[in-house]
């Protein structure tokens, strides 16, 4: 992947710049080989500065979730989840495409990028199981 290496750009901006190109990428440590999130200038696992950005698969699992109750005239209930990515890091997000109350801990989810505003962010939907008409 083309590395965004402009020295004038910090890790938060690099993360957002990738999202604007429809790429969900995270910094990976070239020393201990671990990914981390939120993006930093040094690896929180080993302290190395040798970080490179790689796209992640976007596959993950719901680690925990909550339904936040909100009056329907103000948009109704919505989900907030913590997703553990296959690559290791955990991020806060929202699972869409199902009722907030039916999001379940342990279910498999896939990332997509909400690019409708200037500040794009990652959301998740339940992973389609091949050969099945159901999602879970």
């Amino acid at each position: 992947m083309t590395q965004i290496t402009n020295k004038e750009v910090g890790p938060d901006q690099i993360y957002t710049d990738y999202l604007k190109k429809q790429i969900f990428a995270l910094p990976k440590c070239m020393k201990c080989k671990k990914y981390h999130f939120f993006p930093r200038t040094a690896c929180p696992h080993c302290g190395s500065f040798k970080l490179e950005w790689y796209p992640v698969t976007g596959a993950g699992e719901v680690y925990s979730c909550t339904t936040i109750y909100r009056k329907s005239e103000r948009g109704g209930n919505y989900n907030v989840s913590l997703i553990t990515l296959n690559e290791g890091p955990r991020i806060m997000s929202r699972v869409e495409g199902v009722e907030p109350e039916s999001v379940k801990i342990g279910s498999r989810v896939t990332a997509s990028i909400d690019n409708e505003t200037d500040e794009p962010f990652v959301i998740f939907t339940p992973t389609e199981i091949p050969g099945s008409c159901h999602t879970y």
């Binding site: 939120f38 929202r94 962010f121």
Partner: protein, 383 residues
């Protein structure tokens, strides 16, 4: 050989003010009243205070604003801010300062007008960039995520969480100073308005005004004052994260480490604890901290807190003044559990007094299960 700080300092004065509603007063107005009440309680005057320990959601430089308001010129001050547990952590910093001769009379204090100022959580906190797009309610959603995970892993139920609130209310009913004292049932909690699933309105602490203050001195001079001294036997802190995404395991808090450190310094174990005061911002807190501090095995907190086990007459007295859930909770709450523990060890708790209480464990929490601070206090017999 015991730790050099074990029993080296003692609490000789406590004071509260404006707990509940304090119309028309600022956070520092309330803090100052609590401070003077604590000084009166000890038999000291303002001019004796030469060490200041405070934290605030209102003042960017809290020790400066507080000292200026009170009219003191401390020779040592510490405004370490780790959220609601700050005041528990200050007991360690005060003990170190006293032991090393940096101050003689330490004042730990706090004040807030959160309720009469409109009920919103005052904060100077920066926003969490990577949480903002998802609109979690701060801080309840983070605690709800921890509760949901605990339920998933260990089969903990909303009924068990509700029993934490019921136990707190039963203690509050024995405490004439508690802000809310009417009858509360498990069903009341379960049927209260859901806010961030699985936590409903009555799983959440109160929003009150209030201030608290504690005076600490060296043990050598602790017997010179009005009341039986309460000695700091052990203290430990730990923090592993700031925002909830960075918490390694949502079912294990850093209380596991802060508790171990406190037990180690005190040379005591969980079996020695007579009374427990933990920071119950939400019902899940009590359950997590009782597990992490060793009162029951990990995962068994739900069964442990259920059916009156931590209520008056249960096997373990927890949050004997009614806790943040029913007694008082003005934004940051750590100072109030410290004060209740001192009262229990002085034997001045009236109807809610634990007979023969010699050792109390006080556990503070800050942020979103982020900072953990444990103090173990004891009477003269435990030195």
């Amino acid at each position: 050989m015991s730790h050099i700080l074990r029993g080296s300092s003692a609490i000789v004065g406590i004071g509260q003010a404006g707990c509940g509603k304090a119309e028309g007063r600022t956070p520092l107005d309330i803090l100052a009243e609590a401070t003077h009440n604590a000084l009166d309680d000890a038999g000291l005057s303002l001019s004796d205070v030469d060490g200041l320990f405070t934290g605030s959601s209102y003042h960017f430089m809290p020790t400066l604003s507080t000292a200026e308001y009170l009219g003191i010129k401390p020779r040592f001050s510490d405004g370490s801010m780790i959220g609601g547990s700050s005041f528990i952590a200050h007991t360690l910093n005060a003990a170190m300062a006293i032991h090393s001769g940096l101050c003689d009379v330490a004042l730990i204090c706090y004040g807030s007008n959160q309720r009469t100022a409109g009920g919103k959580l005052a904060t100077m906190s920066e926003q969490q960039t990577y949480e903002v797009p998802y609109k979690p309610h701060y801080p309840i959603s983070s605690y709800a995520l921890a509760a949901a995970r605990h339920m998933y892993q260990y089969g903990t139920t909303r009924e068990q969480l509700a029993d934490v609130a019921v136990a707190a209310r039963q203690w509050a009913q024995l405490n004439p100073e508690a802000f809310v004292r009417d009858k509360l049932t498990r069903e009341d909690v379960l049927n209260s308005r859901m806010i961030s699933d699985p936590l409903s309105l009555l799983d959440c602490c109160l929003v009150t005004d209030g201030g608290g203050a504690v005076i600490m001195v060296s043990s050598e001079r602790a017997r010179d004052y009005h009341h039986k001294p309460v000695y700091l036997l052990g203290m430990g802190m730990a923090h592993w994260h700031r925002q909830i995404t960075q918490m390694p395991d949502l079912t294990i808090t850093a209380a596991k480490e802060s508790g171990q450190r406190a037990y180690e310094m005190a040379g005591l174990s969980v079996k020695d604890i007579d009374v427990v005061e933990v920071y119950d911002a939400f019902t899940i807190n009590t359950l997590l901290f009782l597990e992490d501090l060793g009162f029951c095995p990990k995962g068994e907190g739900g069964a442990f807190v259920a059916n009156g086990n931590i209520s008056p007459g249960g096997t373990l007295p927890v949050n004997t003044h009614g806790g943040g859930l029913s007694c008082v909770h003005p934004g940051m709450y750590g100072i109030f559990i410290l004060i209740e523990a001192v009262r229990q060890l002085r034997g001045s708790c009236g109807k809610r007094q634990i007979d023969g209480a010699e050792v109390a464990l006080v556990h503070g929490n800050g942020g979103v299960l982020s900072s953990q601070a444990t103090s173990i206090l004891g009477t003269e017999q435990t030195l």
